[in-house]
Symmetry: none
Subunit: 320 residues, 2 copies
């Protein structure tokens, strides 16, 4: 395009946006778009695809699917929740994260659009990672994004499902990766780590976060903490014997949602869970295997909000 000579990057995205609008809003065919934009059909198709992949087009379903609304209402009723969102399940792939990721991203964006500075605290995990991938690019340097837990594994490598760094990148906010391991070697080392100035800063930010978003981990042999190597099978077995039902930012809790007093939790370097907080603390989780963990977290008021899907919600309600 002729206008390309000024800001190739911007212009390309602009054209993608134009193509996306013509396609999704005006209902043009890609051929028409190609003609209107003066490019080949293939380019038009690329532009439309780019508008989607760059998350320029947001599809929202403006119909409360009766089922989902009922489930959300029931969950709010049964557990101490202030917000609850249930998205439809894909019957073929009920553990698909896309749906809850979109819902969670919409929630994050609502906070991020605020002109006043906000603090958003994030956990880690696949669900949050998927959430971040659904965020639009935006420019909000006024906000701070802080990690609830360290991103260093015991062997010194970075954790795989860190969400804070890509999130800060996408939305142009400042971020505070905590220079901490997930687990300290012992209580002694933990004290030393927490005494560091940057760590104390981060923890202080977490404590006053306007929005906290976390994943929920189950405590069985398919647990993320196990798969990702934070725990050895023997430790897992030990924790389960001690009544462990789930974990949030590595804090292991029992089936009533009480953080267990045990050796493991004494080594957890993560920010303390803001129990029964007045500000939103949202769990983002789906899956058959996580149901007990989610229920425990809700019961114990470790979170006050939940984003999940239809199937998981059904199972949560079906529990005795």
């Amino acid at each position: 395009m002729s206008t390309g000579r000024f800001t190739p990057e911007t212009t390309r995205l602009d054209d993608a946006a134009r193509a996306g609008w013509l396609y999704y809003v005006a209902g043009n065919t890609q051929d028409e778009i190609a003609r209107k934009l003066g490019v080949s059909r293939q380019s038009a198709q690329r532009l439309v695809a780019m508008a989607v992949s760059e998350r320029l087009v947001k599809v929202r379903l403006d119909h409360p699917i009766g089922r989902c609304m009922d489930l959300a209402a029931t969950l709010c009723d049964r557990f101490p929740l202030t917000t609850c969102e249930v998205v439809p399940s894909d019957p073929g792939a009920p553990e698909l994260l896309t749906g809850i990721a979109i819902a969670a991203a919409a929630l994050l964006e609502k906070t991020l659009r605020a002109p006043e500075p906000r603090i958003i605290a994030m956990g880690t995990g696949r669900a949050l990672r998927a959430t971040v991938e659904q965020l639009s690019r935006m420019e909000c340097p006024q906000h701070k994004i802080v990690s609830l837990l360290g991103n260093v594994m015991s062997d010194g490598s970075a954790t795989p499902y860190n969400a804070v760094i890509p999130m800060a990148d996408r939305v142009g906010a400042r971020h505070y990766p905590v220079p901490l391991p997930v687990l300290a070697r012992d209580a002694e080392e933990l004290r030393a780590l927490h005494a560091q100035e940057p760590v104390r800063n981060s923890l202080a930010l977490c404590a006053e976060a306007d929005l906290t978003m976390v994943g929920v981990g189950q405590m069985d042999m398919s647990a993320p903490v196990l798969v990702d190597g934070f725990l050895r099978p023997a430790e897992m077995a030990e924790l389960r014997a001690a009544g462990a039902a789930g974990e949030i930012t590595s804090w292991v809790f029992d089936d009533r949602g009480h953080v267990i007093d045990c050796a493991h939790n004494r080594r957890v370097a993560s920010a303390p869970l803001p129990r029964a907080a007045d500000r939103p603390v949202i769990a983002v989780a789906v899956g058959e295997s996580k149901i007990k963990a989610i229920r425990a977290a809700l019961t114990g008021h470790l979170v006050n909000g939940l984003i999940t899907n239809e199937l998981t919600a059904e199972r949560l309600i079906a529990l005795p």
Copy 2:
């Protein structure tokens, strides 16, 4: 079913919403949806279509261009326009010409790239001058560029915002500068001028132009015609008293877009305006002060295309 009461309507809409969700959010194909919902593919397609037609799926474009496209669509809807382009305003300099100049230049280049000979008729003014400056250099001797109005001021000097000569220079096309003043001394002189062979040629070319591009002048004390000395303040006052709302290539029209029958217009030497033409006649204009003039030109179908910016488009739509 989700609810105890049996409401076929609701259920059907719910299914539509579900199908829409699976299609647009989860990215299923209609075949998969059909399988998952246990209906035929055709029914799935009907459900998806219903989700759209019932406005259950809302598509939003998360990009500044989205708003511009919306505004353009509204303008096309409200006025008899076949093409309309709205470019983002620079919030700091909402009257900046660069944006619309780039858009207008892109439009010109699309025509200029045609291998068949084309005739492009150009008006004058700052906007068109800025447009020409955005044109890439190219070599298209097959086209003809003709001026809609003379480039000689009453004192014999050339008009400052001529666009045809630099345009022809940039794109390597033949051009037809009209050896005419902007205003004849009187109707008598006008007849004599228009009787000249080269003038008649030019006017004939204007009449069959494939693309006509003009600026729009307001009729107030900041008007270009006044600033550039084509009109004296007294004449301007007179015209305004006669209901003048704007001018295009010196033809002064009222707020319904009718060229006023007055002494001034009887002296105008410019090519006649191709009212309600079948070929594109594009106005290129921005600015708070031009809004009434633009609206009049659109209403009266003096042009069938508009290139403007976001702020001006908003104001045009906000007018009663």
